[in-house]
Amino acid sequence: MVDFSGWDMPVEYPKYGGLTKEHLAVRTGVGVFDVSHMGDIRVHGPQALAALQHITMNDASKMAVEQCQYSAMLYPEGTFVDDLIVHKMADDDYLLVINAGTREKDVNWVTGNTRQFDCEVENLSDKYTQIAIQGPKGVATLQKLTDADLSKVKFYCFTYGTVCGLPDTLIARTGYTAEDGFEIYLSSDEATSTRVWNEVLKAGEEFGILPCGLGARNTLRLEGALSLYGHEISDSINVWEARLDRFLKMDKGDFIGREALEKAKAAGVKHTLIGLEATERGIPRDGYQVTDLNGNEIGYVTSGSPAPFLKKNIALAYVPAQHSALDIEVAVACRSQAVKCKVVAIPFYKRSRKQS
């Protein structure tokens, strides 16, 4: 167990086979994660939408009820307060799912920057146990436990249903694994949480379900090149650099960070996120230096690891834009040796979009 932002969490479940098996279970079958550490903020009231439009970079006005949207809250500098998933419960009611490590900062940020709007901000983080059921067999696993017709729930949408006898449970087709799957939100009491966890494990037994820890969560999201706060995104990295501009809607009206991002774009983006794949023996890891082939430092690795499904050693890194073209060769200073890597397209892994 490790301390993760104050949560006592398993890196892996060795008794069930450990990180690599957990990772592969999610890619080929199904895995279940306890992600109750994620924070939850409800914004509701007549001006909830206007408030959200002001504090997030994506266009929440485009959302339908029971839809989810990946977005981020930005500082005036165009850098990240946090990334998040917005859930539209009703026209005047939204649920923001945020990171554990930034929970307090996020709650203060949302509260502090929505005062001018007629809406209420509630921190519901401790009210929910959040369980993620991820993988191609996620839908078949969860379907056994609910009356909701999951085949009707599209990716990045949600519904309500009775799950393990618990009525009106929020069931979202979201996740952080670059795989199909669901995240369900239950009352956080321990007996209920434990019972549902065990029922999910039982339901997934025929598909080889494994409980998955933080380690697999990290390698799965890395294969999908999904950003992690404090690594690919932070208060010193802007949206262009992080290559998250497909979620940035500059034309939706004013919002915090917009002006700085307009200027940053006009000035030219100097650093950019790239994908790297080691072309010789060695494992690039978080914080290692990236150099050119002459050994001159040009950047740093934000996340690096062996990729259990791809069976390659991969990394995300920041480098100057002129080193970011595909197939450029660079090196990563892996402890005692410089390991050659080439720039590759991200995401490293992309699932086929066929849904059951």
Partner: protein
Amino acid sequence: MAFPAELKYTKEHEWLKVDGNTGTIGITDHAQNSLGDIVFVELPKVGTEITAGQSFGSVESVKAVSDLYAPISGTVTEVNEVLNTSPEEVNKDAHAAWMIKVTLKDPSEVSKLLSAADYEKFASEEGGH
């Protein structure tokens, strides 16, 4: 978990087998078990001088890098090249998957290492795995 009685141990989870003036070094079953799937082993070249208590290489699982610490001082005479291509051998049998062999510089250092019983006690107290 195995703690062979004929081996000596460090608190950093290496084992040492002494045969005359030659020492064979690896990591313990307890260590491989807590590291998880081992995917990379970095070892010194033959001829390298290693010093008791100092790092002589590293072992990497998917989740982390760990230094390898020399139980004793000496000169590397042999390296288990199999681990370059099959690092998972360490998970299969940590006591068979030796890493390096050295010529002991000072055999009296051996007496400073832990016995199997003491190491087992130490490992269980460290616990958590």
